[in-house]
Symmetry: C2
Subunit: 301 residues, 2 copies
């Protein structure tokens, strides 16, 4: 079980024998007013900065979304993708609910991207899967359909299976489908966590494909979301999840993923773990030097 995505120069392998893949979620104007205003005005400075910062923080892929009300989303999304591909070389996740925007994004993209997303709805399957096949992409399949999001893990698994089988019928390899079992807020749906873990495990064991999810929704409405998100991520990884759309700039997320790589035995000789520690110490050393310099300047003034 291995999904391979690529930019024009770099491949990323997603699977249980590889380090967990963080897909940086920041390039998304939803809920980011400034970014939305700038993108709508064709200003991509912040998009560039967000791309660089997330990759520097350890994102192996980036999500790119240009969903701004009243904007020309196909044009915006394809331009955003072009811009991001000029500043970083990681593979991208082309994110839109508008099929024309997905197609514009796919035609602008250099390499083999991930498409975010298709659901189990008949209409979506028929529109999105041919595009995925045409451009040789991989695709995220979300486990809901016309009837909404079931609270029954067996029903969501059934939809996941349907998406994988339908993709194959369009000539897409099953390993190019990554299932999102959907993380509901556990404060509202008591079994949201255990349902997700169950689906992740079944998808891995019975369908043999990768799973993904957004991380922060699980803790919506509850206090100390940082601890809940990190614990959720560790538990989902233990159940078999291999990638997530999340914020690599949040240290607890980044560190949990690195620790899980060590604990799954995919961080050879704990090199990445030790390296991250040295960088962290270097940072605090540099900030300590800056602090002392400021103090000295303060005394002189």
């Amino acid at each position: 079980m291995e999904t391979i995505v690529a930019s024009s120069v770099r491949q990323v392998k997603i699977g249980p024998d590889h380090p967990f893949v963080i897909i940086g979620e920041r390039i998304n104007p939803t809920g980011r007013k400034k970014l939305a205003t700038e993108m709508a005005a064709w200003d991509f400075e912040r998009v560039r900065a967000d791309a660089l910062a997330q990759v520097e923080a350890g994102a192996q892929m980036l999500d790119v979304n240009a969903g701004i009300p009243l904007a020309d989303e196909p044009a915006l999304l394809s331009e955003a993708i072009r811009v991001v591909q000029t500043v970083v070389d990681v593979p991208l996740n082309i994110d839109s609910s508008v099929v024309a925007a997905l197609e514009a994004g796919l035609s602008a993209y250099q390499g083999k991207p991930l498409v975010n997303s298709v659901t189990g709805e008949e209409e979506r399957l028929e529109l999105v899967l041919p595009l995925v096949k045409k451009y040789g992409a991989a695709v995220i399949g979300i486990a809901n359909d016309e009837t909404g999001i079931s609270e029954d893990p067996a029903e969501r698994f059934r939809i996941a299976k349907k998406i994988v089988e339908r993709a194959e019928s369009y000539g897409i390899n099953r390993e190019d489908v990554i299932i999102d079992p959907l993380a509901m807020p556990v404060g509202a749906v008591r079994l949201a966590g255990s349902t997700l873990f169950t689906i992740v495990r079944r998808v891995r064991e019975e369908l043999g494909v990768n799973t993904i999810c957004g991380v922060s929704n699980i803790s919506f409405g509850l206090p100390d979301r940082g601890t809940l998100n990190a614990t959720f991520l560790a538990m989902a990884i233990s159940a078999g999840m291999t990638c997530a759309i999340t914020n690599p700039l949040e240290e607890n997320i980044r560190r949990t993923v690195q620790a899980a790589d060590v604990l799954r035995g995919v961080d050879d000789n704990c090199q990445a773990w030790l390296q991250a520690q040295r960088i962290g110490e270097g940072e605090s050393e540099r900030s300590e030097i800056r602090r002392r310099r400021r103090e000295r300047q303060g005394r002189r003034a």
Copy 2:
């Protein structure tokens, strides 16, 4: 699958449908020189304080160990158990590698304790299991034998199975055996984590009994042990582990366990999670009031 242990007044149920059980590890003179000196001098003040502090921090059980070189361990352990049972009402884990000390502890104990531990070694099985049966206790079975600790999860599972079956042959119910798959340091043994997760899952699915482990050994020799321990614990819980011998005074451990209860759906309406948050806020409020009072006094002085 449910292990029930008890003091004279309180029952604790260990199992996948219950909140995760933290067994406080602090009452153990190994590596705690002051505690060892005091206990050897028959001074149990620190034992009392450690018992109260751990229960207040959320330990549902306490481990009691009196392994001090040259001391009369049976007498010390039974006295420590008497002392602890006068100050807290949680069930205890009677911890010794000396069979005579286990027997002395068992005869002093009020209720149904956990015995820590038996291994798969023939001699230990023959000495410890009859005691467990005689006193109606539950027992921790450690997955090693005369040949040492295997790196092969199948071999360790085989020993776990042998312990469960041997216990049954002595008339001990299988749900009164809790398997410790053994956490090795992942810095030395690359697959230490994934091996443990595999055994936990198999023991749960194939033997239908609970699993336990110590938490801190996994991160031995590596930097940022706090993050590794918390991530390991979350992953082990996701694989099916239901209790652990650890330090409830470490906030990251305590919070990870509480978050995992929420995510497994066993914290009804997230009550414990919200309650812990209120206590945390109350604490910081009280410390803020104290800080302001000190400031005012400072200004007056």
